[in-house]
Symmetry: C2
Subunit: 552 residues, 2 copies
C-alpha cells in the first residue's frame, strides 16, 4: 500500500528551497543593517554594506557573463575582499576557487588551468606570483587587483595600472542585484585543491547544502553565541576558512581580519575587539604564547587542527586563559568534521592526562551523519579497543561532491559508500578516534604494522630533535623498515646511535628506525611535510647503493 503521507504532499516552492549559507548574510542586512560585520585595521564594515558589496560583486561578475558553473579564483589574504568573495561569487552562481597564497607559481598555474578560472581576484601583495603563474598557465582569466589599504609593504611590481581595480569593479556593481539562489542545493559553491602531500593535487568540490550545514555545525562545536567576535588567524583560503566566513553570518558575528599571523596584531585584536573565538594550527598557539606579559581579559576559545596540541603548549594556553579544542578534518569534509568533545570532569585530571585525552581527534560534528574507523578490506568497523588500526571514514552531508574532473579519484574515494580519508586511526572504548598515520605512511615490517607517527612522537621527545619524519624503507629481510629523517634544534646535534638507543628505550625493538638521515625535510608551502618526497629520496639512495657508490 502506498504511504498515505506521500500522497499529494510533494515539494513546491512554498515548502522547499535549496539550502545555502548565502541567505544568512541577507538576513543580517535586513535585521541588523548597522551591526559591525567586518573589522580590518581602521576599517569597519556593517552588515548592510557587506551585503551590498557582495551583491555588487555578484552583479559585476554577471555583467562579465559569468554564471552557473564558472570559476572565480581568489588569491587573497584574510581581508574584507576575501569575505566578499565568499558571498559575491556564489551569488552570481559561480564557484569560488580560493588559492593558497603561499604556493609557488607553477602550482597556481596548474590550479587556474584545471579549474578553468574565468576571473582571478588577486591581492596586490601576490600579484607578482600571480603574473608568474599566468605567464605559464593554459588559461587567461580576467585579472582584478585588490589594493588593501592595510597592506603597507613596498610593492615588488612596478606598475599594475593595466589591471582592473577591485574596489572600482565592485563600486560599479548593482546593490539591488537579484542574486542567484542555487538551482539545487547540490550545486557547487567552492573548489579547493588538496595540498599535494601525496604529490597529486585534486580539486575538492563542495556544495551549498554542505556549506550551510557545516557553517551551522561550527556554531554547535564552538558553542558560539550571537554577536561573537572571530579573529582570522586561520587562512580563509584553507578549506574556505573551515566555513567560518558563513558561520559568522548565522550568528550576526564580527570578523576581525588579519593579514599576517604575528603576535602583536593578534594580541592587539584580542584586547581591542574582545575577540571570543579563533582558529589555527598549533604553530598559531606558539606565536600567541611568544608574546610576553599578555593575559586575556575575557574568555577566548581557540580551535586547533592539523596536529594534536602538544602538552606544553596546552598548559601554557590554559594559563593564558584560552580554552583549546582539538578538531580534525580535511578539505573533503569542508574543513573540520570531527571534534574532541571535552568532558568537564576531564579538567580535574593532571595536565599530562588532559594532553593525552586532547590529542585524540574525537567524535563526529553534529551535521556529520557517520564517522568510523573501518578495515578498508572488509569495510567492517575495527573493535573499539584503542589498538586496532583502521581507516577513518566519513558518511554524511558535509562530505564533498567529489574531485573535479577526476572520476577515478572520486570513485575510489567513495568506494563502498564511505569517504575514505586515507588516515589511519584507532577507536578508543569511549568511541573517540585517534589518528595513527596516513595509510600511505604506515610501515609494514615483518607483517607488523608500525605507525610512523608513533616513532615520530618518541623522536620529538628527544631534546635535540626539532623536526622529524619517518617513512618506510624497503628491506630484504623484513619487507619494510622505518627510515627516520631528522632536523636538529639550533645549536644541537645528536648521533644516529644515540637516537637508536633513545628509541629502544621507548618502543618495541622492531619499531626502532634502521636508518637515519640528518638532511633538510621537504615541506609544502603550507608547512606540511612531503613524505612522498622523502620516500623518493629513500628509493634514490637504495638504487645508488645497489649500483655501487660513488656514482658515475
Amino acid at each position: 500500500m502506498e504511504n498515505p503521507y506521500n500522497v499529494g504532499l510533494d515539494r513546491n516552492p512554498a515548502n522547499f528551497q535549496p539550502l545555502t549559507p548565502l541567505g544568512f548574510l541577507a538576513r543580517n542586512a535586513a535585521n541588523y543593517p548597522d551591526a559591525i560585520a567586518i573589522i580590518h585595521g581602521n576599517i569597519r564594515v556593517n552588515y548592510q554594506t557587506f551585503y551590498d558589496r557582495s551583491r555588487q560583486l555578484a552583479s559585476q561578475l554577471a555583467n562579465l557573463g559569468l554564471g552557473r558553473g564558472d570559476t572565480v579564483s581568489a588569491l587573497l589574504a584574510n581581508t574584507p575582499a576575501m569575505l566578499e568573495c565568499h558571498y559575491g561569487v556564489p551569488m552570481a552562481g559561480a564557484v569560488l576557487h580560493s588559492v593558497n597564497t603561499r604556493l609557488e607559481a607553477a602550482t597556481i598555474a596548474y590550479q587556474l588551468a584545471h579549474a578553468q578560472a574565468k576571473v582571478l581576484i588577486v591581492d596586490r601583495e601576490f600579484l607578482s606570483v600571480a603574473q608568474a603563474a599566468l605567464a605559464v598557465a593554459d588559461v587567461s582569466p580576467l585579472v582584478i587587483v585588490y589594493h588593501d589599504s592595510e597592506w603597507t609593504e613596498l610593492s615588488s611590481v612596478d606598475t599594475d595600472d593595466h589591471y582592473q581595480d577591485y574596489d572600482e569593479f565592485v563600486a560599479q556593481g548593482d546593490r539591488a542585484f537579484s542574486w542567484l539562489m542555487p538551482e539545487d542545493e547540490w550545486d557547487a559553491i567552492s573548489i579547493n585543491y588538496t595540498s599535494g602531500t601525496t604529490g597529486n593535487p585534486k580539486g575538492v568540490v563542495c556544495h551549498h547544502r554542505g556549506a550551510y550545514l557545516l557553517a551551522l555545525g561550527n556554531v554547535f562545536t564552538a558553542d558560539m553565541p550571537k554577536y561573537s567576535t572571530y579573529l582570522w588567524t586561520l587562512p580563509m583560503f584553507h578549506c574556505n576558512g573551515w566555513c567560518f566566513p558563513w558561520t559568522l553570518s548565522a550568528i550576526c558575528g564580527t570578523h576581525v581580519c588579519l593579514r599576517q599571523v604575528r603576535k602583536e596584531p593578534i594580541w592587539l585584536a584580542l584586547h581591542k575587539h574582545k575577540v571570543t573565538h579563533l582558529c589555527g594550527a598549533p604553530i598559531v598557539m606558539d606565536i600567541i604564547l611568544s608574546a610576553e606579559n599578555q593575559t586575556l581579559t575575557n574568555k577566548v576559545a581557540f580551535f586547533t587542527a592539523a596536529a594534536p596540541p602538544p602538552e606544553r603548549t596546552l598548559a601554557q594556553m590554559q594559563e593564558a586563559g584560552f580554552e583549546v579544542t582539538h578538531l580534525y578534518g580535511l578539505a573533503e569534509v569542508y574543513g573540520p568534521a570531527v571534534v574532541n568533545e571535552w568532558h568537564q570532569e576531564w579538567n580535574l585530571l593532571p595536565i599530562e592526562e588532559q594532553a593525552k585525552l586532547k590529542a585524540r581527534q574525537g567524535v563526529k560534528y553534529l551535521p556529520l551523519e557517520n564517522l568510523d574507523v573501518l578495515d578498508p578490506e572488509t569495510m567492517s568497523a575495527v573493535p573499539a579497543d584503542g589498538k586496532t588500526l583502521g581507516e577513518v571514514m566519513f558518511q554524511g552531508n558535509v562530505v564533498m561532491k567529489g574531485y573535479f574532473k577526476n572520476p577515478t579519484a572520486t570513485q575510489s574515494a567513495f568506494e563502498g559508500g564511505w569517504f575514505h580519508s586515507g588516515d589511519l586511526a584507532v577507536k578508543h572504548p569511549d568511541g573517540y578516534i585517534q589518528l595513527k598515520d596516513r595509510s600511505k605512511d604506515i610501515i609494514i615490517s615483518g607483517g607488523e604494522n608500525i605507525s610512523s607517527i608513533e616513532i615520530e612522537d618518541v623522536l620529538y621527545k628527544h631534546p635535540a630533535v626539532a623536526v622529524t619524519a619517518v617513512v618506510s624503507c624497503p628491506d630484504e629481510k623484513w619487507g619494510e623498515v622505518p627510515f627516520a629523517f631528522v632536523e636538529c634544534c639550533e645549536g644541537k646535534t645528536v648521533s644516529e646511535q644515540e637516537l637508536k638507543t633513545w628509541c629502544g628505550q621507548h618502543m618495541a625493538g622492531f619499531k626502532v628506525p634502521k636508518h637515519f638521515s640528518f638532511t633538510p625535510i621537504p615541506r609544502t608551502p603550507t608547512g606540511k611535510i612531503q613524505k612522498f618526497q622523502l620516500r623518493e629520496q629513500v628509493s634514490a639512495r637504495l638504487q645508488s647503493e645497489e649500483s655501487g657508490s660513488p656514482k658515475s
Copy 2:
C-alpha cells in the same frame, strides 16, 4: 554547455544522507551517555537510557508490524514517555500524532480516525476521555497506557488491567534495534491537527528535513548554549513542543518535565534545576508572576507566542529577572518561525515603548527562507509603511508538506508558491511584521478595513474588561460593522454606552463597535477564542431580529 561541476559528481551514500533530528539523540548517547537528558520529579534519565528506551519503543512498534507511513497517536502529558515518542515513533519509520490532552472525546475520535491511528499511547490521566473517544471512533488502535509515577491524582477509571502497560511494552523491546533512517528527508515525522478556530481541523504533516532545521533554528533564536536546561511549560502536543524535544538533543541539554503548569512546581524547577530556557503563552507568564516573593538566581530566557506580551506582564517579568522574547508561528511552520529579534539599544527605551516594539511579531527564523506580507490578490509585497494590510506568507524548508488527505486545502494553502497563513499584518519600515488580524476576522466597514485586534486592544485597556472578542456583523448601511463580545472582570460591570464612549476616545469613530454582547465567549480546549462561533451567534441574533422576537 553542461556545468562541469555537475559532471560525475552525483549524490551517493558517502556524501548524501537524509536530514533527520533523530541522529542528535544517537550522537549524545555515544558521546555523553551519562549526561542527564530528562528530569521528571525524582526521576533522572541519562542520554544512554533515553536512546535505549527510544530504540526499544521503536523495536516494539516494528514488532507490531508498524512501519513507514503508519500513525502512532500519543495522548500524553509532558512526561518522559512523550519525549520517547518523539524519537521512538519515527525511529520505527512511523508518524507521531500528538493529541491535545484538553480536547473532548468527539474531536479526539475524529483525529484518530482521520490519521488512521494504529497505536494509541495514552497517559492514565486521559484514559477515560480516550475510552470515550474510542467508543465512537471509526478506528481501533492498540491502546498502550502510560502510568506516570509522578501522577498521583486518583484515577477516574476503575480498572485498566486489560490494556498493555507502556513501561512493560518498552522494556520488552530491543536496545540494539537498528532504527530506520527516513528513506527520504521529505518523509513525514509528525502530524498535528489545527485547533479548529475556523471550525475545520486539518492534519498538518511535517517532515524530517523541516524538523531538523527548525530544531537547530531554535538554538539560534534562543541563543542556547550546550547543556542548557529547558523547562516544559509548553505542551509537547502543541506543534511537537515547537520542535524543542529535538532541539535539546542538538545541544545535549536537559529536559525538565512538568505535568501541570502551576506556579509552585515552576518555581521549584527554576531554582532547583537552574532552568535556563522555557516557553509558553502569555498566561504562563501570569502564572509565574502570581507567585509571591520569588526572584531568579540565574538568567532565564522566556519565549512567548500566541499573543503579544502585555506591557504590564513584560515589565513584571523583566523585574523578576526574565528575558522575554516574542515568537510567532503556526502548526504549518513547525511552531515558531518568526522572532521578534531584539536590538540591544531598545533596552534603553521606556517600558511602554519596549512593549510596543515587543508586540511586533518580527522577522524570519534563521532556517526560514522567506517571510513577507503580500497582497493575496496580486501576490506582491505590501509597502513597508506599518499601515498597509496584507497576508503573512512563508516560503521555505520549515513549511509543512501539506494537509493530510486534504488536497484542496493543501493546494489553496500553497497557492502562488507561498504558504498563506491566513493572518493579516503590516510590515514596518524596519522589516518587522506585525499581526493585525486573521483574514477571516477583518471587518470591512464602508470600504475601510477595520482590524478586530485593534478594537480588542482598546477594550482590553478598560479596567472592567477581562476578555473580549470582536467580529464583523452584517450591516445594511456600512456592509459590515464591528460587534464586540465582552466578559467582565470578577466583581466589575460596565455598560455598553460606557464602552462606546471609551472606544470613541481611543479610535476613529467608524471603528467603534455598533453592537455589544456581555455573554460568555466560546473557546477551544487550548483556550483560543472561537470567532466562528461568535459569528454564528451574530447571524442567529440577526435572523431572530428579522423574524421578530420573541421567537416561535
